[in-house]
Symmetry: C2
Amino acid sequence: MGCAPMSHILFDEVMRFNPKNPYWFNRDRFVLSAGHGCMLQYALLHLAGYDSVKEEDLKQFRQWSSRTPGHPENFETPGVEVTTGPLGQGVGNAVGLALAEANLAARFNKPDATIVDHYTYVILGDGCNMEGISNEAASLAGHWGLNKLICFYDDNHISIDGSTDIAFTEDVEKRFEALGWHTIWVKNGNTGYDEIRAAIAEAKTIKDKPTMIKVTTTIGYGSPNKANSYSVHGSALGSKEVDATRKNLGWPYEPFVVPEEVKSHWSKHTKLGADLEAQWEASLAAYEKKYPTEAAEFKQLISGELPDGWDKALPVYTPESPGDATRNLSQTNLNALVKVLPGLIGGSADLASSNMTLLKAYGDFQKSTPEERNVRFGVREHGMGAISNGIALHGSGLIPYCATFFVFTDYMRGAIRLSALAEAGVIYVMTHDSIGLGEDGPTHQPIEHLASFRAMPNIFMFRPADGNETAGSYKVAVLSRKTPSILALSRQKLPQLAGSSIDAVSKGAYILSDNSSGNKPDLILIGTGSEVEIAAKAADVIRKEGKSVRVVSFPCWELFEKQSDEYKESVFPSEVTARVSVEAGSTFGWGKYVGSRGVAIGLDRFGASAPAGTLYKEFGFTVDNVVAKAKSLL
Amino acid sequence: MGCAPMSHILFDEVMRFNPKNPYWFNRDRFVLSAGHGCMLQYALLHLAGYDSVKEEDLKQFRQWSSRTPGHPENFETPGVEVTTGPLGQGVGNAVGLALAEANLAARFNKPDATIVDHYTYVILGDGCNMEGISNEAASLAGHWGLNKLICFYDDNHISIDGSTDIAFTEDVEKRFEALGWHTIWVKNGNTGYDEIRAAIAEAKTIKDKPTMIKVTTTIGYGSPNKANSYSVHGSALGSKEVDATRKNLGWPYEPFVVPEEVKSHWSKHTKLGADLEAQWEASLAAYEKKYPTEAAEFKQLISGELPDGWDKALPVYTPESPGDATRNLSQTNLNALVKVLPGLIGGSADLASSNMTLLKAYGDFQKSTPEERNVRFGVREHGMGAISNGIALHGSGLIPYCATFFVFTDYMRGAIRLSALAEAGVIYVMTHDSIGLGEDGPTHQPIEHLASFRAMPNIFMFRPADGNETAGSYKVAVLSRKTPSILALSRQKLPQLAGSSIDAVSKGAYILSDNSSGNKPDLILIGTGSEVEIAAKAADVIRKEGKSVRVVSFPCWELFEKQSDEYKESVFPSEVTARVSVEAGSTFGWGKYVGSRGVAIGLDRFGASAPAGTLYKEFGFTVDNVVAKAKSLL
């Protein structure tokens, strides 16, 4: 209720949108980072004329299959741009939305023709401001000078546990100034409408910095007994207090009844919105006449369709191709893809030279060069993930990728989970994927990470074994605009395998080699990533002893699970129970594929600091060990 | 090399430690948050006379089974206080170390007798400062006024990807001032020894704030060709450049050779350290005479041993005891335990009233009341985890717990993993453990989290089903000082189960009820947490139809895995293949226990916003569904 004035002004007076087309490209974006206040957002969408939030939707607040869930979800409610609730994520998303706008504006606008031009508005609370992710994102927004990003900090002094005095006494304005933001303080956010209007106007005059408007409000403003109390934070007022509040505010109407004069006032937005979109369409048509090539690229981009034949750019390898680390093969893919995918944009959390993520034909996205495509996130993994989600959910055909060491997905898991939930097709380029990274030791060596993402809904966890599988992983990742992908990539050199292919990856698991007939090998050896080579070599040894051995490469569990029962049986015939898996990570979950008779070779402890070869030997990731374990089953 | 002057001054002139007893209670703590520079720390420990780092250890840098791994690891190298490397964690750990000192000093020091009195020193770099976790921790340190925390910010302008200009242009000093810190700038950190000394002296005069000393240095200082270059960040100089650097610095000695005069200079620390410890022992003896009760508690606490009979305080329940949410039962346990465990201290990330973590007999740990035991972390999950690790690794018998919603372990996973790796026995109180939380919806509903922690080494993932199991989880968690524990607790009310017990939890899984004989039930129903009730009711239904059914409650997979084969077989006899598990979360990993014939009832998609009862019904967590699935196997 304390946020009502600022959000009312935003929706009714400031923001440019078309309620009948929530996906109009050039709309202003609004993010309620303090997502627990979503009823306000739903009410405004309803008033503004969005068909996604009818009166009956408001009545179904937080009910099964409603379009008004307990936190805003972009995939449920058109008009909601991003999914918020986990605090601070919305701030990061908003930085991504503003980055997308700045990048596209710099690439496509012309001195005489503007087709990309919108603001991104955010409301955040004390909780968002306490979260580290928001500091990371805000530091980048300041560094990049994203002046079309305007944040409202709802300074209500209250969080769930009580007054912010108990845990949050920093000087927020000064911190934002240190981060390179313009700041404005609206002292009376409860009723100071003109102050809020003036602050927004001032923010728009600032051309080189984002703006943070601190709006001092009273939580539950209008409630005579519960205003300024933490009990309002996540709980309903209760019917008695609602009645008292209605009286206090002089609001005589029944619940959910919108008075005619209010309806009539807000109804203007339907026409206004249609006009705004029509004006933009006219601008775009004029642009197209003057700049047909750019217009074609722009329209293709914002259509969300991939250019025809884009996947022909993916590199293909033969067993004779030189071996290489999959992180390097990934770089080859990224640099090949950027030539055919105008939407590709991304970078690393200060590890570009280790993650191998630089787009060589491009410079850095910076304040002075916003048209460029290499994003330098600094050591800010969580912010990077949330910004990437914002870029993806800008809905303009941009395909964000971002990178760090695989183990540091731990730092950004909150954002990765939201990629999965919010259907943001971010590509996570995660290198140094196992103990194979060697000397940096257990703080840097992922163990449980593959399992932890295989258990997460709506995300593809890839661990490619060579060049073709890396390209195949990228193929699925680029195609999957509503499912994020993680590519776990090796630091160490791997051979190009006989039997691998780009298309096989889309099946999740496939037969790399087999010397049996009739779908009845004596043994199945299963590997992922860098351990497929070991499985293949172990198979050679056992085959020489007269046994039939199938080698299965298993780059993506989730894709395999989507296959038909027939296909699954063709790869893992149920009657073949002699199965050995080998993967340099936790064995957790492998029971499903090796079965009760089989053996999962893995690592269920932390790693160690030593050269990679030593670690592989000490921890049993050797051909000899695989052969020995396999023979024990034959 | 740029950090050498400040760290040399710290170890040689400032810090109070006893190299022959790295665990002396009252030592100053040193944290190298920029852990990749650990060779410097090893060299200083070696010079200072620590037996853990001999010349041969230095020569074994980053080699298998050495005591000098690629990042500092407290569990490998006495003298190293905490495990660092993942950036920003060390800053959080240091805040925890300083909090522990402040709390114990306030509780035990007397106007005429000081027995707790040490500083915590940190060196952090640009990377640490970019991480959100360090901002969270620093904001709390400022709020708490932890004046005995002194941080050195190694301002070398270089991170792995190049100049910090590309991603880090904020005003760090101003930000720390906004967070309530005192700041000092040493402009010549390469050779300005006196400036550094003066800065430390100044920091010690500040009595109400932590201090951040920005020390401007040149990375790789002394190297004529590679100084001030990102190529020095994580890579060796190379032998040619090492030779050039030796010449440049006028250092004629062979590698690993410490000149006699240097040895002789540093050798003083052995005697100095012994004297310091002896003086402290004398102070403690004097204290003991005056304050025998407090001294007994203090000595007991820092011994790390738990008080005799502490576990008798754990509440016991019968099936007749009123049902309750396990989050409430957890609160009963915490409040019972704090009466017998003087080390218990902790709190929540702004959700104390939801997580039910308040210690009712205590006030808040605040700047003016540092003797209290309720810690208010604010909405700073990652910082909270790192601070809790610091409290645990203070080594003074403090037992930290911390809390948020289970789903937000995603925000603090980097710190939780370090609890596991660094053997910090933090207790993570994680409530709202499933879709059972209801209306807040999928952003707040954990799905994959149980699986993700079951896959992590050295951590106990508990999901208790009732009061006895909650108490049993706490019993193991308190006993496990080198293994962290996570308790996933329900928001919703659960009954007290017939057959549950505190001690059974220590087995990980146990038979809650069974109407079979000879270890051959027709069916095994397995549940965890809130779904054990459903399994038990389903068993009743099926038993009425003449079948023998075993119900297994499975609160902790890791503990079960530690049991003997005989015990495992006694719970899950291999010949019984009709098995159904029911858990309101991902089925990932359950294949191991239900086997290829069994059925895992779970949720492999995101949840939804609706009342909990509706969600349980819609997603199949009902007695009817369990009965139906079970019958399909009979």
